[in-house]
Amino acid sequence: MLLDYDRLGWLRAALAGFTALITAFLLLPVVFIVLLSFGSSRWLAFPPPGWTLKWYQELLADPAWVEAALTSAKIAAMAAILAVLIGLLASFSLVRGEFRGRQLLRGLLLTPMVLPVVVFAIAIYAFFLRIGLAGTTIGFVIAHTILALPFAIIPIATALEGFDKSIEDAAIVCGASPLQARLRITLPSIRIGIFSAAIFSFLASWDEVVVAIFMASPTLQTLPVKIWGSLRADLSPVVAAASSLLVGLTLCLMIVTALLRRRLSR
């Protein structure tokens, strides 16, 4: 190997220090927000003069916050289900299909990941305004499904590529119809990919803010939109509490994913 970690000498310490700095840079803001959400200062003073749970009480007592969280969860769940279903069908055709323009189709389906979100947001907002879907749950779900699709297709297609098609053929020789073979053998075999796809597409929608700001109406707000709105109105520790909950749920989902992947891949 060109760079052998064991033979780096003093560079090893430098590398470790550099890594620690970057990690701190990425994590510290999150840590501060979580700490501030438990601080008793109304003005987000740091270090906090005392510790309290009252911002969380205030958050949970406010129906606008609770509703925003439920809306977020509902939209993210629907977007995740749709993205996984479409992602499954798309992956089969991208991995197994032999047709002209397959690479083009793959590129098209993955575009939402590389396209600047604001460009996508403006485009779909303008389109939805015309057909009357702006500010509706359906509009929200469609827009987020499109954004989540790459996150569903990548893990499913990867799992399908790693699955030996001979196993499916064996199921068919055993007497299973091609559809039965796919449902009973292929899908369970690539379940880690499907599961990752569900989690990642849920998260893609759950913490999405740009498209959500365009799509939101006064009566339909997701949690990130509500946070954004509250920040502009008044800087209250309730926002820190809401943010902490958002981070907490994301973290939980990531941990569950990691644990399940480990168990399933045994």
Binding site: D164, A170, A171, I172, V173, C174, G175, A176, A181, R266
Partner: protein, 359 residues
């Protein structure tokens, strides 16, 4: 005329301009173990896939008990198959893998349970019923695959190089298992391999494929002792091919002149050859002797190298015309005169075990 159990009739498979299988015709009696042997790309697997239904032949037909299989989709052909790759269902236990074909056939639970137990006993893996495929060795996985393929009592079992991923010792062990299972179940087996030893060990008959055609079909002894062509002689067993010139043939017995000028009479001619036609004389390495017997032909050689293998010696000899030949006399016949490297030696062979092929 008795109708054959399985009849492969003029099956042809073309991929564009490339013809992978040229009008292959074989009749297989019930209970036979027939092996398709041949180098890779010789059309043996393609023929098997046509029977399994993974590939539609361009023309021809496959009949099982007089009924065409070609219009039946793969999953309704009721054929058993073991693949080259490991194809156990990774998320199901060994027992559930074997049960799968019975479950899709909606057999009652009690029957499924009994059959699974029988099949696991057949492949001697009763203790592994609750394991998952990931916890099995390659050999065990292929035995479970065999149990799964036989669980629904298919009339035909197809095996596509099932042992090619295993090491040599394990291959031989499982070959013995396959022989026993074939004997115990009486199932008709079509087996594909490129390994001639495996084919000889397992088969009732061997169909040797070359470039999409069957070069020769017969028992292992037929192919070894009576090869129809130089290709067969070269593929089955070890062979020496000595450049020769055909002088004359009388009653199927030929007189030839070898490249070093020596004459050999009493050779079997496989095909009619013209006077003076260039040919190759095939002699098996074990047909050579170091001491002459009645009627033997002799060959003046220089012994280049010799090695001892317990039951055999392997001697590398060079003829007067510079051709290296492989000589494997049994150990006891090797003793007189020794086999140390030396020039001016004579070795001997029975000309009736040699074959003459046109070039």
């Amino acid at each position: 005329m008795t109708r054959p159990f399985l009849s492969i009739r003029a099956v042809r498979k073309a991929f564009g301009a490339f013809v992978a299988v040229h009008d292959v015709t074989i009749d297989v009696p019930k209970g036979e173990f027939l092996t398709f042997l041949g180098p890779s790309g010789s059309g043996k697997s393609t023929t098997l896939y046509a029977i399994a239904g993974f590939q539609d032949p361009t023309s021809g037909d496959v009949l099982l008990e007089d009924k065409s299989l070609l219009s039946v989709p793969s999953h309704k052909r009721n054929i058993g198959m073991v693949f080259q790759r490991y194809t156990l269902f990774p998320h199901l236990s060994v027992a559930e893998n074997v049960a799968f074909p019975l479950r899709v056939r909606r057999r009652p639970d009690a029957e499924v349970k009994r059959k699974v137990a029988d099949m696991l006993a057949l492949v001697r893996l009763e203790k592994f019923a609750d394991r998952y495929p990931g916890a099995l060795s390659g050999g065990q996985q292929q035995r479970v695959a065999l149990a799964r393929a036989l669980a629904y009592d298919p009339p035909i079992l197809l095996m596509d190089e099932p042992l090619s991923a295993l090491d040599k010792k394990l291959r031989q062990e499982i070959q013995a298992e396959i022989r026993r299972i074939h004997r115990e179940t009486g199932v008709t087996v079509l087996y594909v391999t490129h390994d001639q030893e495996e084919a000889l060990h397992l088969s009732d008959r061997i169909a040797l494929f070359k470039e999409g055609r069957i070069e020769q079909i017969g028992t292992g002894e037929d192919l070894y002792l009576r090869p129809a062509s130089e290709f067969v002689a070269g593929f089955i067993g070890n062979s020496n091919f000595l450049p020769a010139e055909h002088l004359e043939t009388e009653n199927g017995v030929a007189l030839v002149r070898l490249a070093d000028g020596s004459l050999v009479k009493g050779v079997k001619a496989t095909q009619a050859l013209g006077r003076g036609q260039k040919a190759r004389l095939m002699v098996r390495p074990e047909a050579f002797r170091l001491t002459p017997m009645e009627g033997n032909a002799s060959l003046a050689v220089e012994i280049v190298d010799t090695a001892f293998f317990g039951d055999r010696r392997r001697v590398v000899a060079r003829t007067g015309s510079g051709d290296e030949i492989d000589v494997r006399p049994t150990s006891d016949t090797a003793e007189p005169g020794g086999t140390d490297a030396a020039s001016g030696r004579q070795i001997f062979f029975d000309p009736t075990t040699a074959f003459l092929f046109p070039v």
